[in-house]
């Protein structure tokens, strides 16, 4: 559908409007970290360990230091007082290894930073890095989380005898009773493989220290500039008010930039030591080796049910591959999986045991969905496995177990309060769009001809809009500032730090509607701690769902002030603010927003009790999470000769509450589905048994390309969230969460004629072919 052309009187919220940020992005005039140039800027290149585990017997930096153009070489001995790299998550009994910014005497994963070479240009820095001689004594490594749990496995951190970072138990209801009463129990091992987030822009940092002011400015490709500032100040021992963090244009994050990395502190350290600006730009190879990975689950599920399909309870043993360290949220991610375990279903007996396991790999952390795709994949697979066991239709079994609209608010066994939902609605709409009975007829005919066709149905529920502060490590609120210039133009500042989601457009829509001005009268600024007030950041589908309400309330606050100034100018108490004008309801006289704003700055006269100026700030604390939901239906055809899977139809019906801009929502769904298809069909971070990353480049790590995508039919139902005044819920992760189980369910359905019950991702042609030969994939 083409974007709509807006007539003046129409509301902007709800319209398909093209993004305000796109012209600069598509004409190459946006400023990313690597576009930043500064007088006297130096360049850093990081020396990294080729071994997953090794003792550092010695580092010789003489040759590197002697290279003309190299100004400094630092090793772990120089930086050991900086840091540690912080972990923001806390769990009872959590083992937290000390995470130096440069390895001190041992390396823990392939790519571990060991030294940094600083030079007058990038080329010399790279040449210098090659001259740093590191004497490594290789040690045994372990890369597989289940092997890491075996007796006698190499200890990733020698200070602990085993590789268990934590055990976490959560239980709700009476699971033992549920399983004792069950008429049927199905069990399955389900994995969610390690993925590499692969943002188009790799990470990058520019650090600039002003020795006169003793002030440091760090430009970083980050999703969380404010949190980064707070944590970086601690790492560097710098007063927080002497540190400014700027997130310039950020070319994608998907959670991989919801973090505080060693390199961010390292560049701050270097800039302070050399007194000159320094730039580090991550190569794609470093990005794959050293930026967090996602997923990394091995899950053992057991589901108890009655013969009529009523689900009674669920047990899960979850093995989380943590990698070698905890990054910002590493150990918290699997706990989100547990929160999500009830899915959309009524059963209240759940038992989950998480084992967090250290491996000699780069840490895992939040990647689009962060714990929730893993959980949704698990439960939606289990529901299909149960349906197959009971010979029930996958749609029927879901509808039988859904929480019904009148049951909200619904307290789950994992301690959440689902506020609203109408789970039948998107599923029914998807079934209708797909012509589900017609698909089943076609499938029956295809089977007669010996063809393998599958229909996969998956529903999902999400926890979004992180979140109420008590449930979030660093506060879960968001902030907005609205400022009207003397000329009547509007600047919105948001503490959420959008990086591709399009809030410069959606927030302008919200502000323009509330203030009765045009889209072009509003700019949205973000990502600079010196420009916008403190905020938490964009992740967990919270940018619009938490940042949007903060903006809404700031606008209401400002509208009160506008009305007071309007009343003063119109010399009337009975004034309405409508269509960008203050109107006297008696005389019909009006003044424009610009006239009101101008008067507020000139301040010749002030309304009683009012300050000059036209600006309002609001910090909004959400009372609850939001709970979006949806249904995806996927039709696949499997080539019996090769095992190749073709996705012939993809129908997504997502309920993300009130839609501010359908064009952007569809874009989020398309992107999410692309990453879901990537996981379902080909993506996989592969380490060999010695901890070498074999998918170290885009030549071996298969991300989905445009030409590989099916047409995604994106549709919606709209059940407004009662949690916030906009009724929005968040949609950034919906596609990734809904996708993988729908695709796997579809392929398992196609292969069910051969007795196949489950297939682990990625479903590569060879894996499918092996199953078709009667083997174990």
């Amino acid at each position: 559908m083409a974007p709509t052309i807006i007539t003046k009187t129409e509301k902007l919220v709800g319209q398909r409007i093209r993004r305000k940020e796109d012209p600069r992005l598509i004409t190459g005039t946006a400023t990313y970290v690597d576009d930043i140039q500064m007088q006297g800027m130096h360049h850093a290149c990081i020396v990294r360990s080729p071994y997953a585990a090794a003792k550092i017997a010695g580092i010789d930096t003489k040759a590197a230091s002697a290279l003309p153009g190299v100004v400094a070489v630092f090793t772990g001995a120089d930086t050991k007082d900086v840091g540690p790299v912080p972990c923001g998550a806390s769990l009872p009994g959590l083992r937290v290894p000390y995470h130096h910014i440069l390895a001190v005497d041992r390396t823990y994963f392939a790519g571990h930073p060991v030294a940094v070479v600083v030079a007058t240009d990038r080329y010399i820095a790279r040449d210098g890095a090659e001259l740093v001689e590191v004497d490594y004594d290789p040690l045994p490594a372990v890369a597989d989380p289940e092997k890491a749990l075996e007796a006698g496995a190499p200890a990733v951190h020698p200070e602990w005898a085993d590789n268990i970072a934590f055990n976490f138990h959560q239980e709700g209801g009476d699971t033992a009773k549920a399983f004792a009463e069950a008429e049927v129990v199905v069990k399955q091992r389900i994995t969610s493989q390690r993925l590499i987030p692969t943002a188009m822009e790799t990470r990058g940092v520019v650090a600039d220290y002003n020795t006169g002011d003793e002030a440091l400015t760090v430009y970083s490709s980050t999703q969380i500039p404010h949190l980064l500032r707070t944590l970086l100040a601690q790492m560097l021992g710098l007063p927080e008010h002497h540190l400014r963090v700027v997130a310039p244009e950020v070319g994608g994050g998907f959670g991989s930039k919801l973090n505080v990395y060693a390199e961010e502190a390292l560049m701050g350290f270097v800039a302070m030591r050399i007194g000159k600006p320094v730039k580090w730009i991550e190569s794609r190879r470093e990005n794959y080796l050293c930026t967090i990975h996602g997923r990394g689950h091995v899950d053992y599920y057991e589901m108890a049910a009655r013969k009529d399909g009523t689900i009674l309870g669920l047990r899960l043993k979850l093995i989380q591959d943590l990698g070698a360290y905890h990054q910002l949220l590493t150990p918290a991610i699997p706990t989100l999986s547990v929160l999500m375990m009830p899915g959309l279903y009524r059963f209240k007996n759940i038992q989950a045991d998480i084992v967090g396991v250290f491996t000699n790999c780069v840490p895992t952390d939040a990647y689009r969905g962060a714990g929730r795709p893993e959980a949704t994949h698990g439960i939606e697979r289990m529901v299909d496995i149960l349906a197959a066991e009971l010979k029930m239709d996958p749609v029927e079994i879901r509808m039988k177990n859904f929480i019904q609209p009148e049951e909200f608010p619904f307290a789950t066994a994992t301690g959440l309060i689902y506020d609203s939902g109408n789970y039948d609605a998107p599923l029914k709409k998807a079934l209708e769009l797909a012509d589900y009975p017609g698909l089943r007829r076609r499938q029956a005919e295809a089977r007669k001809q010996g063809k393998l066709m599958g229909v996969g149905v998956s529903t999902y529920g999400e926890i979004c809009a992180f979140g109420p502060s008590p449930a979030t490590p660093a506060g879960g609120w968001e902030c907005a500032t609205v400022k009207i210039d003397p000329s009547g133009k509007v600047t919105v500042g948001t503490g959420a730090s959008p990086h591709g989601q399009g809030e410069e457009t959606t927030f302008a829509q919200i502000a323009a509607d509330e203030l009765g001005v045009g889209m072009d009268d509003v700019v949205v600024v973000h990502g600079d701690t010196a420009v916008v007030p403190y905020g938490i950041g964009t992740f967990g589908s919270r940018g619009t769902a938490v940042g949007g309400p903060a903006l809404y309330y700031a606008l209401q606050k400002l509208k009160e002030k506008i009305k007071k100034f309007g009343a003063m100018l119109l010399e009337s108490e009975d004034v309405t603010f409508v269509e960008g004008r203050c109107v006297c309801n008696r005389s019909g006289k009006s003044v424009s927003l610009a006239e009101v704003a101008g008067a507020s700055y000139r301040a010749m006269k002030l309304p009683p009790g009012e300050d000059p100026g036209m600006q309002a700030t609001y910090f909004w604390e959400p009372p609850n999470f939001t709970f979006p939901f949806g249904a995806h239906i996927v039709v696949t055809e499997v080539d019996a000769d090769t095992g190749k899977i073709a996705v012939s139809r993809y129908i997504a019906v997502d309920d993300c509450g009130k839609i501010i801009n359908p064009l952007l929502v569809d874009g989020q769904v398309h992107g999410g589905v692309a990453q879901g298809l990537g996981q379902a069909l080909f993506e996989q971070a592969v380490y060999d048994e010695n901890g070498q990353l074999l998918t170290g480049e885009l030549m071996d790590y298969a991300i989905p390309k445009a030409t590989m995508m099916p047409w995604v039919e994106s549709h919606h139902t709209e059940t407004p969230s009662p949690v916030n005044p906009l009724g929005v819920k968040g949609v950034g992760e919906a596609g990734t969460i809904g996708c993988t189980p729908a695709v796997v369910n579809s392929v398992v359905d196609a292969l069910s004629v051969l007795g196949v019950r489950h297939i682990d991702m990625p479903m590569t042609p060879e894996k499918i072919w092996t199953l078709l030969q009667g083997g174990q994939a």
Partner: protein, 145 residues
């Protein structure tokens, strides 16, 4: 990565075995080897230049021969470290009389790390096989002299 294979050498088993222990012959047969320097009984240092299509790199390496059981079997370990990564190979070689010559079979493990491991995945197996083939082809040539 597991490797394994069989080669036929046109010499008697005793001669084949002694060739395979001879540093001068090994130096000629290990692809890119610039010569072996004995450091201990059956341990040698070497410099190796790997050159394959556009890829090239210098490696500081070691060769070690252990578990000698003439003329039937021995273990050969080769390792190299360079700027583009490291590699380590360890294999058990068995010699049997066959068709008037000697059949050498090997099974072992190859470990590769660093840049070459991460970017050359697609070609590692092919390349390892080619290097081993070159080694034995060269050995067969030496045997013929």
């Amino acid at each position: 990565m597991k490797i394994g294979g069989v080669y036929q050498l046109p010499v008697a088993r005793d001669r084949a075995y002694s060739m395979l222990q001879d540093p001068a012959i090994l130096a000629r047969c290990i692809p890119g080897c610039g010569g072996l320097n004995r450091t201990a009984g059956n341990e040698y240092n070497m410099q190796m230049k790997l050159a394959l299509a556009s890829i090239s790199g210098l490696f500081e390496g070691k060769v070690r021969i252990t578990e000698q059981n003439p003329p039937e079997s021995f273990r050969l370990a080769v390792e190299g470290k360079g700027k583009i990564g490291f590699m380590k190979g360890d294999g058990l070689l068995r010699l049997v009389d066959k068709d008037g010559g000697t059949e050498v079979s090997y099974v072992g493990d190859v470990q590769v790390g660093g840049t070459i491991a991460a970017v050359g995945q697609r070609l590692l197996d092919t390349t390892a096989k080619m290097m081993i083939k070159r080694f034995f082809d060269q050995l067969a040539e030496c045997a013929g002299q």
